[in-house]
């Protein structure tokens, strides 16, 4: 079951990533995707060991030593799957480098094992610029979802004109 994965040598991406260690966790900001990831201790330890020279089979012992506690091989594989899903590992072929998290969960369920509880990685997209070189966020002509009519204007006197069936409306400010 683990043969193919045990032979792979996972490699963490280094280019385009900013890494900040926060206790036993790690915050990784991906400049290319503008996403930030909080790696929980297991994921952070596994990520640190993805040096392109350490096999999956060899990681369990190393990660266990890093964390000071035993770590199941399936947890290692799940961490790798999650790291792969969020794009933090160098991979050109998911089938060669390992299984996806979806496959991991399916295999775990079939085997009757405990489902992976909380995700090992939390991710968030950083906001786009509200203003850039003269752009505005003030009723620029489009909004809005039902009552979500331009939160930037506190008085909410923008009126969202939305056609039936349309998802977005046009932000209209009364001039009379």
């Amino acid at each position: 079951m683990h043969g193919r994965q045990n032979n792979s040598l996972p490699q963490a991406r280094r280019n385009g990533l900013l890494v900040e260690h926060v206790g036993s966790e790690a915050i990784v900001y991906d400049v290319e995707s503008s996403k930030a990831h909080c790696l929980k201790p297991v994921a952070a330890a596994v990520f640190a060991r993805c040096d392109g020279e350490t096999s999956v089979a060899g990681m369990s012992e190393l990660v266990a030593a890093d964390l000071g506690e035993a770590v199941d091989a399936e947890v290692i594989e799940d961490a790798l799957a999650q790291l792969r899903e969020v794009g933090l590992l160098v991979t050109s072929d998911a089938a060669v480098d390992g299984v996806s998290r979806r496959q991991m969960l399916r295999r775990t369920a079939v085997a009757g094992g405990a489902a992976m509880a909380a995700p090992l990685i939390a991710s968030a997209l950083t906001p786009t610029a509200a203003l850039a070189n003269g752009g505005t966020s003030v009723c620029s002509g489009s909004c809005c979802y039902d009552t979500d009519c331009h939160p930037a204007i506190e008085s909410r006197k923008c009126a969202c004109q939305k056609q039936a069936g349309e998802k977005e409306g046009i932000c209209v400010v009364a001039t009379s």
Partner: protein, 259 residues
Amino acid sequence: MGTTPGFTDELAVEAHGVRLVLAASDPGLLAKVSELAPTGAAPTSGGGRGQRFGLSTDDEDVYRVLQGETVALACRDLDLALAALGTLVEEHVAFHAPERVFVNGGAAQFRRRAILVLGPPLGGTTTLVGELVRAGASEWCDRYAALDRQGLVHPYGARGRKADRRLWDADDRVGPLPVGMIVTTHYKPGTGWNPRPCTEGDGVLALLAHAVAARERPEYALQVVRAAAAGATVLEGERGEAGRAAEALLETAGELFSV
């Protein structure tokens, strides 16, 4: 939306390291516009005038809000025009401040710590901050929290905005605050307040996800939010009625924040 009108009155200010020019078509309007300068703004002179934000009116009682040469809004409601102009000014400073990382959200001061409230647009952040104030905290920031290099929170808002007038003067004399609590929440009718305790890493992630200009200056943003989250209590969860959530938060803060 029309040609650029002339401005007869201008005021150059600097706020959080950002130079800008506030302009109006008459002195009376300039007095109102100048109240939109963010907390910490001071008049400035000399070179490097900065981006201009203006408000003009004409014979037809139409108010035009301009950013640079672009007419951002035209309307007959002065309050709306001022609100729009204030928003533009705040966003411009938040995006361009060289030594600050601005985070979308509100903040209240309690026992000389900042309680940062983060959430999605229209998620009730302002409402919760308002309830924190009613329950005994002091207002500190609305819409943006201004973090400095050490992760301290500076007051940010505008006296001219009605929401800020109530308690601004008292807090203006207090220096920047360390972050005591980071709360990520949004309003969901029918729910109670049972937040999930989170890690410091979660706090860093939450701040980064709300940091204006994080994409433009990711390294600095990461450094600042990391400093801000250090030692803070981090909570996350949906909330129902804001008053109850606020009381519970202050009770928790009271236990955590030493006087």
